[in-house]
């Protein structure tokens, strides 16, 4: 991928002439009561970028994603999606929840789940238009799961379930896809499959932001990683940012030894 994210270190002039970034966060702070979850987080993601967010548990990764869909409010700073406040861009941002947050026992088919992207809250008998059906078909085709459309969601593997949720975001006409814990509960083979699907979507112009714990394999395939531990420790291409210093700031000294072969 030739595009790399532009960061605020760029001059104001450059920002004014460049196309609107998909995500633009400026000194973003989030507090829950006494706890500061995000502190002065500033970054910018250009349209079409494939970005990972890494960091320890409680680092604010999920919170960051939730600010982008407008369900967590900032205590200060700003965040914009294509230049607008997240509360105005809900249809533009597709969200794939953590697997643990989904009730897999609920009786829905793959088709039903993707249709939720089109008709989130209509009454029971509201007509699903031909356009809705086409969008669902098309979205399932793009993630390679059209042949499973009549299967129950719980009969799919972890990776396939993630792809169904990606399809739901596509059916919603989202331009920015957010995946929380994209690869947890997904076996290695399916992780690469999911990665390939996401990569292709980026090439088609979608912007993808995902959180992951998998620094060794998945995070290394991304264009850019944001290293988050309440504040932004580093961001840039994985090979550049995964330095012993940054990893220690994120996870403490033991991980540095394991991840990079350094001895301390």
């Amino acid at each position: 991928m030739s595009q790399t994210p532009t960061y605020i270190h760029d001059s104001e002039l450059e920002k004014q002439t460049a196309p609107l970034p998909a995500v633009d966060a400026n000194c973003m702070c989030v507090t829950y009561g006494q706890d500061t979850v995000l502190r002065d987080v500033t970054f910018s993601v250009p349209s079409g970028a494939f970005v990972g967010i890494v960091g320890p548990n409680g680092a604010g990764k999920s919170t960051l994603l939730k600010t982008l869909v407008g369900i967590v409010e900032l205590s200060s700073g700003s965040v914009n999606i294509y230049g607008s406040d997240p509360s105005q861009t809900r249809r533009m941002v597709g969200y794939v929840p953590q697997s643990d947050d989904v009730n897999w026992q609920f009786p829905v088919t793959v088709w039903d789940v993707v249709m939720m992207g089109r008709t989130p809250s209509l009454g029971a008998f509201r007509y699903e238009s031909a356009a809705d059906k086409n969008a669902v078909n098309d979205a399932l085709h793009r993630v390679g799961l059209l042949h499973r459309k009549d299967d129950m969601i719980r009969s799919l593997s972890g990776g396939q379930r993630q792809r169904v949720f990606v399809a739901r975001a596509l059916a919603q006409d989202a331009r920015v896809l957010l995946l929380d814990e994209a690869f947890s509960g997904v076996d290695v083979g399916s992780q690469y499959e999911l990665m390939a699907v996401l990569r292709r979507l980026c090439e088609e112009g979608q912007t993808v932001l995902l959180t992951t714990h998998d620094l060794a394999n998945m995070a290394r395939q991304l264009d850019t990683v944001l290293c988050l531990n309440c504040h932004l420790c580093a961001c840039g291409p994985p090979d550049e940012v995964f330095t012993p210093e940054v990893l220690e700031e994120l996870y403490g000294p033991h991980v540095v030894a394991a991840e990079s072969g350094y001895t301390i």
Binding site: V69, I71, R90, V93, Y95, V96, P97, Q98, D101, V102, N103, Q105, F106, P107, V108, T109, D112, V113, M116, T119, P120, S121, L122, G123, A124, F125, R126, M152, F165, R168, Q172
Partner: protein, 276 residues
């Protein structure tokens, strides 16, 4: 006696026809919310709610009012208190349910034992239902409440589905998740209250859970699951009423028994099918 007269005979009695009417109405409303109760793990909630209505019911009876007037507020207060305790103290939902279940049920029994001497309805009637004693006006109230439930349910169906399956995704999609959850609790309260009349406090779960649970084994999508649930509940009600008539059995217990048997049969058939 030929088959036709065997089938028709019970219904020359008005009280049995009225019992059948109430049973049919509850057979339709219970699986509607029952499917959500079962798939969201709210079973204990339903049971507890059925018991927690006792103080309201007792108070209404002692005041010489229709038990309806006390039951519904009790159920709603219970549902909201449980939600409140969970949010304010952070304890697990089932513990909060257990606390309110025991406390309110005990309050009801205390109220009955202190001031309930002149009340003609016994605790046993409340616990086991009085399906064979329903009046014309009971039917009308049941029908009214059930229709209202059905309308609200249909109006919010997709929202209920989205929130039950993927609450975070639903919130992102702009659905007010907390409001929909409270709505579901309110619907469960209403249905529990309506059902108590048919099968009593103890056996509410027989209508609310067993048919819906059997249906989740028989179907793959929400609407067909509800359809099967209604079918199973209707069969259980009708079989139960006949059994009660011909063998002189308590109606609530007969319906609950039939409902449990249907679940067992569906589970066995499904095991057979998935093995074949």
């Amino acid at each position: 006696m030929d088959l036709i007269s065997y089938i028709v005979e019970p219904f020359q009695y008005g009280f049995l026809l009225r019992a059948l009417a109430v049973a049919v109405i509850t057979s339709i409303t219970c699986p509607l919310v029952g499917v959500f109760v079962v798939t969201r793990g709210y079973g204990f909630m339903g049971d507890a709610m059925a018991h927690a209505i006792l103080p309201g019911m007792a108070a209404a009876l002692i005041a010489g009012l229709s038990p309806w007037i006390g039951m519904l507020p009790s159920a709603l207060v219970f549902a909201f208190l449980v939600g409140f305790i969970v949010r304010k103290t952070g304890i697990q939902a089932d513990a909060a349910i257990g606390i309110m279940f025991a406390t309110l049920f005990a309050l009801g029994i205390l109220v009955m034992s202190l001031w309930g001497a002149q009340v003609t309805v016994s605790l046993e009637d409340i616990l086991l239902g009085q399906l064979l004693a329903v009046t014309q006006s009971d039917i009308l109230v049941t029908l009214g409440v059930a229709s209202l439930t059905l309308l609200v349910f249909i109006g919010y169906f997709k929202g209920l589905m989205f929130v039950s399956f993927d609450p975070v995704g639903a919130e992102v999609a702009g659905i007010r998740v907390e409001r929909v959850d409270y709505l579901l609790l309110a619907l469960i309260s209403v249905v529990v209250v309506v059902t108590i009349q048919a099968v009593g406090v103890v056996l509410v779960l027989a209508m609310l859970i067993a048919p819906a649970a059997a249906a989740t084994l028989a179907a793959q999508r929400v609407v067909p699951t509800i359809g099967f649930g209604i079918l199973f509940a209707l069969i259980a009600s009708i079989v139960g009423i006949y059994a009660s008539y011909y063998w002189n059995l308590p109606s609530g217990a007969s319906i609950a028994m039939a409902s449990g048997l249907i679940f067992a049969i569906v589970a066995l058939v499904r095991r057979r099918i998935s093995r074949a």
